[in-house]
Amino acid sequence: MADTIWVYAEVVAGALTPTTLEMLSQAAAVGTAEAVLLGRAPADAAEVLGAYGAAKVYRGDDPVFDTYLVLPALEALAVLIRAHQPTAMLFASSYAGRDLAAGLSARLDCGAISDVGDFELTDGGVVATIPALGGSYLATSTFARPGPRLLLVRPKSFEARRIGGTATIENVPAPEEPALRTVEVIDRVEVPAEGPQLEGANAIVSGGRGLRTADAFHMLRELAELLGGAVGATRAVVDAGWVPYSMQIGQTGRTVKPDVYIACGISGAIQHLAGMKQSKAIIAINTDPQAPIFQFADLGVIGDVSQVVPQLITELKRRKGLA
């Protein structure tokens, strides 16, 4: 019998997340994929999950899953996992994914492997590949004991493929215990992101502390516009309040994989590399020849961003016949 791989399906901003569909496609490629979908979701969610490879969708639509964080979903998942014993369960390395995998590992006394970039099934087991320390190493890990196997998967690790299947739906009852209703959501506030979205952008121009001033982001926006791309930032400048968190790329921010990533005044801390190292081409501009970012750059320019970026903007405008 084929191994059954479960995927925790997440909905953000009214749609299934790309990582959900990526994980599902991979699960369907190596075994029988099934999804667990709890809480508010678009009407066609089960249909979409089926199209991306889910043979079955465990669906719990009780509002308790949205109103109370972590514990109700955790309990529902623990009951389902105990009853059906999938070979592995995949969660996105997202806010909800990390909380649920963490709670489940404590609840079921089982392992949870974080930061997974790839996995394979081996004779009833699972071997996970982890790009460790921002991708400076590639570690392979497995589970040392029998029992549930939880994997937290990095975004963009797999291709999402619409293979056009149909899922059967099994209803998941909401856990009743009042003790699970302790972490209450009072309000959800949307903070609109500035400019084009990072995810899906073909070109990303990103800025770090080497820019020296928040104003320098104007120049990066102009460059991004010329390339039809988006602007990102490191945690350092987000923490400094220069730009909003929605622009943060890295371990605690977004993971991006554009055709070209232009790192401006970014030294290349491990946490930042983790979010952009998979870019197809990397260009780095930095005054410090020793900056780690140069080890990952396809083209590195040792120089001052405030000189090089305006040169580049002028040159691109000239070639486009704009100046």
């Binding site: 963490a102 590992s105 392992g111 605690t252 040169q311």
Partner: protein, 260 residues
């Protein structure tokens, strides 16, 4: 209120982190260590809460003798008690083993109102220990906080989300994990550093906590690292010095890869 902060000590930011090919663990021996910046944010938030509401802050850290560096730092910032989980039995613990040890230590401390952790450590950043601790203690986890408010017996946070934030509330005692941008940790003053020296750090061994080889350490780990290797290498890039032509070089490169 009594606030407990869980934090670890990591190689300081000047160190390029490396994995020891023999132990397959991060190399930590003989490196300069510091209090994890994520833990420093947690300590700062704890101090601000007790400055506003009264009370005390306890720092709890697991690790080798180097962990005292972080505990002393937190005490110098203003924490009033330090607890060190020390011993070979803890070495090689996975996230759940670490959470079990920290939860067991917290249960042995005077009754508490709040546990604060960083969202993830700055060296291994798995980001799952806080919720594991909360679950083991049976208290509500409020994670990824970028704003924290305590009002009487309840706590509310702004929880970072993909699209903004959620306002999330729970009753105390609770656990929160705090994001790095939440505050700017204070620098210890000489007076604090001197006072911290007088505080005796309490130590717990695994035995003291009633934990055995099935709970903590490498023997209890649910995950096993099989191998650590080099990643597929990127072909070495071209590094040039800007002599006024850097922008043009980049434009040529962009044209070559057909981005423009």
């Amino acid at each position: 209120m009594h606030v407990i902060v869980c934090g670890k000590v990591i190689p300081d930011s000047s160190v390029t982190l490396q994995i020891d090919p023999d132990t397959k663990r991060m190399r930590r021996k003989d490196l300069p260590h510091e209090l994890d910046p994520a833990a420093a944010v947690a300590v700062e938030e704890a101090l601000r809460l007790v400055e506003r509401h009264g009370g005390s802050v306890t720092i709890v850290s697991m690790g080798t003798t180097d962990a005292t560096i972080g505990i002393r730092r937190a005490l110098a910032m203003g924490a009033t008690a330090g607890v060190h989980l020390l011993g070979e039995e803890f070495a090689g613990s996975d996230t759940l083993g670490t959470a079990k040890a920290l939860a067991a230590a917290i249960r042995r401390l005077p009754s508490y109102d709040l546990v604060i952790c960083g969202t993830e450590s700055s060296d291994s950043y798995s980001g799952i220990v806080p919720v594991q601790i909360a679950y083991l203690l049976g208290i509500p986890p409020l994670t990824f906080a970028n704003k924290v408010e305590v009002d009487g017996n309840s706590i509310s946070i702004h929880r970072q989300s993909e699209t903004g934030y959620a306002v999330v509330r729970a009753q105390l005692p609770a656990l929160i994990s705090v994001t790095s941008g939440l505050n700017e940790p204070r620098y210890p003053q000489l007076k604090g550093i001197m006072a911290a020296r007088k505080i005796e750090i309490q130590t717990f061994s695994a035995g003291d906590l009633g934990l055995g080889p099935d709970d903590v350490g490498a023997s209890a780990a649910r995950e096993r690292v099989m191998a650590v290797g080099a990643p597929p290498m990127r072909a070495a890039g071209r590094i040039i010095e800007d002599d006024g032509q850097g922008g043009k070089e980049i434009a040529d490169f962009l044209a070559a890869i057909r981005v423009v």
